[in-house]
C-alpha cells in the first residue's frame, strides 16, 4: 500500500534561514506528489505539485525517485510561511494519500 512519511511533526527556524520539510513515500508505480498547506484559520490548499515544476511563494520541491523523496525547500523563510504542511501522493487515480503533516514555525 502507498504511504507518505513526514518525519518531523514540528520544524522551527528563524526568519531568513533555509527551510527543508521532508517527505518520503512508498509506492510501486509512478506517483504524483503534492504539497498542501494550511495557514492558521484557513482551509487546506494546494501549494505545488511535482508535475508543474514551478516555484510557489519561493517554495520548490523536486521528486527524487531514487530516494523516494519529495522534500519542500525554501532558501529564506518568512514569518508568513508559518503553517501546517502536508505532503500527499496520488496513485494515478483520484484519491490523495496524505502524510501526517509538519508544523513550520518561523521565528522573528
Amino acid at each position: 500500500a502507498q504511504r507518505v512519511t513526514q518525519p518531523e511533526k514540528l520544524l522551527s527556524v528563524f526568519k531568513g534561514a533555509p527551510v527543508e520539510l521532508k517527505c518520503n513515500y512508498s509506492y510501486s508505480g509512478s506517483p504524483e506528489l503534492f504539497w498542501y498547506v494550511q495557514y492558521s484559520r484557513q482551509r487546506l490548499q494546494l501549494l505545488l505539485r511535482h508535475i508543474s515544476r514551478e516555484s510557489i511563494k519561493g517554495f520548490t520541491a523536486d521528486l527524487n525517485k531514487g530516494e523516494t523523496s519529495f522534500h519542500l525547500k525554501k532558501p529564506f523563510a518568512q514569518e508568513e510561511d508559518s503553517a501546517m504542511y502536508y505532503c500527499a501522493l496520488s496513485e494515478g487515480g483520484n484519491k490523495l494519500v496524505f502524510g501526517a503533516g509538519t508544523i513550520l514555525r518561523v521565528k522573528s
Binding site: V4, K9, E32, F34, R43, L44, Q45, L46, R49, I51, Y86, A88, S90, E91, G92, G93, N94, K95, L96, V97, F98, G99, A100, G101
Partner: protein, 118 residues
C-alpha cells in the same frame, strides 16, 4: 465565488446517535471527495464521487458510514450509531476534472466539520 461549503462546522453527538454531514461543492465540479482527519494526523480518504456515481468507497471504515450525492452536486456523509472513534474532522473536497493526477485540476477543500462523539 464561493468555495466548498460544509455544514455544520461543529457537531456534538452522543454515542449511538446518527449524524449527517453536508457538503456543497463548487458549482460545476464533477468530482467530490470525503476525507476523515483524526487529531494529529493527515486527512484519510473515505470515498469519491464522479457526478452522482460513487466510484470508490474503499476508505469507509465500516458499514455505519454511508455517503450519497443523488443529483451530482450536494453530498451527504451519514454515520449511523456513532462511536467515540468517529470523532474527527470530516473534510470535503471537489475538483473540476475527473482525475486529480496527470495534470488534472486540483482538489479544493472545505473548512470541514468537526465531529465530537461523547
Amino acid at each position: 465565488g464561493a468555495g466548498v461549503s460544509q455544514s455544520p462546522r461543529y457537531k456534538v453527538a452522543k454515542r449511538g446517535q446518527d449524524v449527517a454531514l453536508r457538503c456543497d461543492p463548487i458549482s460545476g465540479h464533477v468530482s467530490l471527495f470525503w476525507y476523515q482527519q483524526a487529531l494529529g494526523q493527515g486527512p484519510e480518504f473515505l470515498t469519491y464521487f464522479q457526478n452522482e456515481a460513487q466510484l470508490d468507497k474503499s476508505g469507509l471504515p465500516s458499514d455505519r458510514f454511508f455517503a450519497e450525492r443523488p443529483e451530482g452536486s450536494v453530498s451527504t456523509l451519514k454515520i449511523q450509531r456513532t462511536q467515540q472513534e468517529d470523532s474527527a474532522v470530516y473534510l470535503c473536497a471537489s475538483s473540476l476534472s475527473y482525475a486529480v493526477s496527470r495534470g488534472g485540476q486540483p482538489q479544493h477543500f472545505g473548512d470541514g466539520t468537526r465531529l465530537s462523539i461523547l
